[in-house]
Symmetry: C3
Subunit: 388 residues, 3 copies
């Protein structure tokens, strides 16, 4: 036996083409099983991974900018303020934000506060009988001010510690029910959303090209009749999230306006449209919740003619609408495509392993197949099932 092994000369090696020697088993049973499992794998790779889950695409996440504009007027009539209307400058606080807007729906107003001393609101922690009960300088994060060290009359029947604070103090009461700005449910908000997928250099806005300005001046979003109108009635937003506006408006809350931009950029650009859903974000459940609803305190500052600073403290309850923009774009890319095809080919290899095992374990002629398939050598020479 002369040797003409590989690598006697590199040049010869280079042009050698190695191909496996194949044993072809002609058996309807084995063949059917084999083709069936191959078809499963191919159907999975092509049908599921590629067509359904778009495994051939590269993805990018959305970069978004939102601006909002609320319109509407509310009328209130209270003993303190009389008949009064509230417009955008009064109830949107702060006047502009990026991607979020707060609408005041209810409030507790404490007007004409000045820096002075007065009796704390009586609570188990602040009720006293003598000056010794009130430590001077004591300042509890949950209190109303800094204690002066004196115990004074809160009213005819009760005495409480005196504090330095903005007096008169805000009363500890529940907010009005029904809410003061009940008319807020009819306010409308125009949401303008501009998105970009940087990887694919793709921009789009939620005011679609087919929507013109005369339509925009009078339309209101409705899932059935006006799904492209970017103007939403606040009541509709809250109702779609299965909440009641008037109930929510008493203590306030946080609503999510979710804008989903899932786009297949291999398809026409006009198929890439936003999908709006609405969801309540804060927790209604009173049990594991402190400060249910949504409120915050703000003040308007004034100066008397004599230069004394006074303020009107407003504990404002309302609904904050967070515009949450999310989504993913996909576009064909060679790398994920070949990655999935490669993995699919490797799985086809697994099909062979399974079929081999079945053939060599369960078929009646398995011994014969083994003799054809395997050639044994060990360190000392060929072994006995080689044919001579």
């Amino acid at each position: 036996m002369s040797e003409k092994g590989c690598c006697d000369s590199v040049g010869e090696c280079f042009f050698d083409y190695h191909t496996s020697k194949i044993l072809v088993i002609r058996s309807k049973k084995v063949g059917t099983l084999n083709r069936f499992t191959q078809a499963l794998v191919i159907a999975y790779v092509i049908g599921y991974v590629c067509v359904l889950k778009k495994g051939y695409q590269d993805t990018d996440t959305v970069l978004s900018s939102v601006s909002t504009k609320v319109k509407g007027i509310a009328l209130t009539n209270t003993s303190e303020l009389g008949e009064r209307i509230w417009d955008v400058a009064d109830y949107i606080i702060p006047p502009q934000e990026d991607g979020s807007f707060f609408v005041l729906t209810n409030m507790i107003i404490t007007p004409n506060q000045t820096q002075s001393k007065c009796a704390e609101n009586p609570t188990p922690a602040s009720i006293c009988t003598s000056h010794r009960d009130c430590k001077r300088g004591f300042n509890d994060a949950r209190g109303d001010g800094v204690r002066t060290g004196r115990c004074v009359d809160y009213n005819d029947t009760v005495k409480s510690c005196e504090v330095l604070s903005w007096c008169p103090l805000e009363k500890i009461v529940e907010p009005p029910n029904p809410p003061l700005l009940a008319d807020a449910e009819n306010f409308t908000v125009l949401i303008k959303n501009s998105i970009r997928y940087p990887k694919f250099n793709f921009n789009k806005r939620n005011i679609l090209p087919n929507v013109n300005s005369s339509y925009l001046t009078q339309c209101v979003f409705s899932r059935k009749t006006d799904p492209d109108c970017p103007i939403f009635r606040l009541k509709d937003i809250v109702e779609e999230a299965n909440e009641d506006f008037q109930t929510m408006a008493v203590h306030g809350g946080v609503m999510g306006v979710q804008i989903l931009w899932d786009c297949d950029l291999d398809m026409p650009q006009s198929w890439c449209v936003p999908r709006y859903t609405f969801r309540r974000l804060d927790n209604k459940d009173p049990e594991n919740n402190v400060a249910p609803g949504y409120n915050f305190r703000f003040a308007k500052y004034y100066k008397d003619s004599d230069g004394t600073e006074t303020r009107t403290l407003i504990k404002g309850y309302g609904i904050r609408f967070d515009v949450l923009v999310f989504g993913q774009a996909g576009k064909f890319n060679i790398i994920p495509t070949l990655l999935n095809i490669g993995a699919g080919l490797a799985l086809l290899g697994l099909v062979n392993v399974i079929c081999d095992w079945i053939v060599l374990t369960f078929m009646t002629r398995k011994q014969h197949y083994k003799e054809q398939k395997y050639t044994y050598v060990d360190d000392y020479g060929l072994l006995s099932n080689e044919e001579t």
Copy 2:
């Protein structure tokens, strides 16, 4: 034939090494084709996937925090207000935000409003001839107030419905052109951006280590001469986005300051620098746009000596600058590396399938190769193309 098949003893099976029997075809044509397609696959896996697209890296998205500080003074001279300067506390509304800042460039001021009754601005919906045309309590989201039910003189020639509102009402006029705060184009903004890639525990700031405080007190960003200076002139930002500042300042708009942090963390950290681009985010096109530009209403509240609340309503037009930080970091990770190598190996298997097909279909000696490569058995025994 004695059988010394596998699994007579598990111990023996375990140390069996299975290797395919190979048919080596020495043919320059086939060899060249084989090596060529293998080289293609390897060049794709190493060159394209690994080197170019960095398929060996794991990725993470950026976590960012932005703070901004605007500087500048504008001078205006109007008949209502006289000569007046506007500084940061006057034109940045609200005074601080996270990641965004609004610069007032133009406005319509309605001073000395009080809660009272006055005639609505005359529009087709509000013009009337008698009280019957005005329904008491009517409150349209697009109107000016709540109707009292009376039809009153708007001026000498026209009558309109009376409303309870903040009177005098804001006039329906176009904002001034040229814009009031035309000087705003020379304002500068310092943008401080701190980013983090949590997965790789990597932090960086956009004020780079080579930038010292004396440079920062006088530099202005310029792509050619000062690309590392984080202080931007508003006019430059707008011009890079192919817009004209003075035109945009009349009705306002939304500008995006995009900071891209694409970092390869296998490279030195100093290579990871931010790249600034600027883009107009709102839609200039008047056709499918309602409320073009960017404006919002806010008010300053005052109290008369007799305690009556008055306010100055300002419809402020301006440019909101959204700082959008995005990007992706990559760092070597064994999993995507082996994933891509594995997929590449499977594709090399595909090369064999293609070459086999070519060899056994088109080569002149294909019959000979087939006889060497394939051994046929069926359920009844070896078949005829076995050599004896």
Copy 3:
């Protein structure tokens, strides 16, 4: 030799099962090496990729909404303002934001400013000797106002250019040390965070189900004793980031409150909990920093009885807390699972290539193995190492 090649009849071809002919080398050395490297690959695929790195899961990024509520009162005593308390409405600016809150800790107050003319603060750029040194209309972005063209007395010893501005000008001084609102370190903030993983339709809040409202009224976050309490003391937040609150409060700064939601949704939902970390985001280093710390200017506007507008300018220093929510959810998905299994199988193929090379290069019986493994043909017939 009759030919019974494939594709004589498609029906026959279809049921052919192709399996490689195998050479089984019985050698302890080779077998051990083979099994060892196979075990490595399998351990890598199953142990590292699947179990440790959860390669069988699909991932989604978090969609988040945050609301915050600060509580606390600070006492100050200055010559200008006297003894005064500051509550939430005074020190949170703006009163509400989405995902971020600013706490005033220090300030420079310039009260009773009106639009008038006064001498600029003396700097190398503004000091003058005669009117010719001051150009009328000159307006530097870093200056105090618009120059009138006159050189006037700043005080007895120095003359500077006169400007039209809000006068009296803010003095160029360092902010007070210790900070005015030093009590701010004891303020507490309740952070409510609602997250969603849209791909898996999974919602959760950071106020966990086991936390009830009576616990919430008195708890404070502590890593050891109260890790589920969403109420944080500002001092604790700053200290965990290795900073000193009082030092930071002088010039202000930016703190990041990072909430990490890494959830394995194949596990019980109760295992998905937020993890809080705190980090200083701004740059303390004075060298490559302009405007160290965090401050901004805002004003309160008043009207005199004669209608003149006055304002109080406040240069507010404070700590802005950015709540940064990030994280990733994973859930079992067939595609990444089969992708990783496929890549693993392809790597097992690589094991064979390596073992082949070792066997045919280093083993003593390599020549014998080669003769068994390889059958050579070229374009002219079988070659010499075929056994006859």
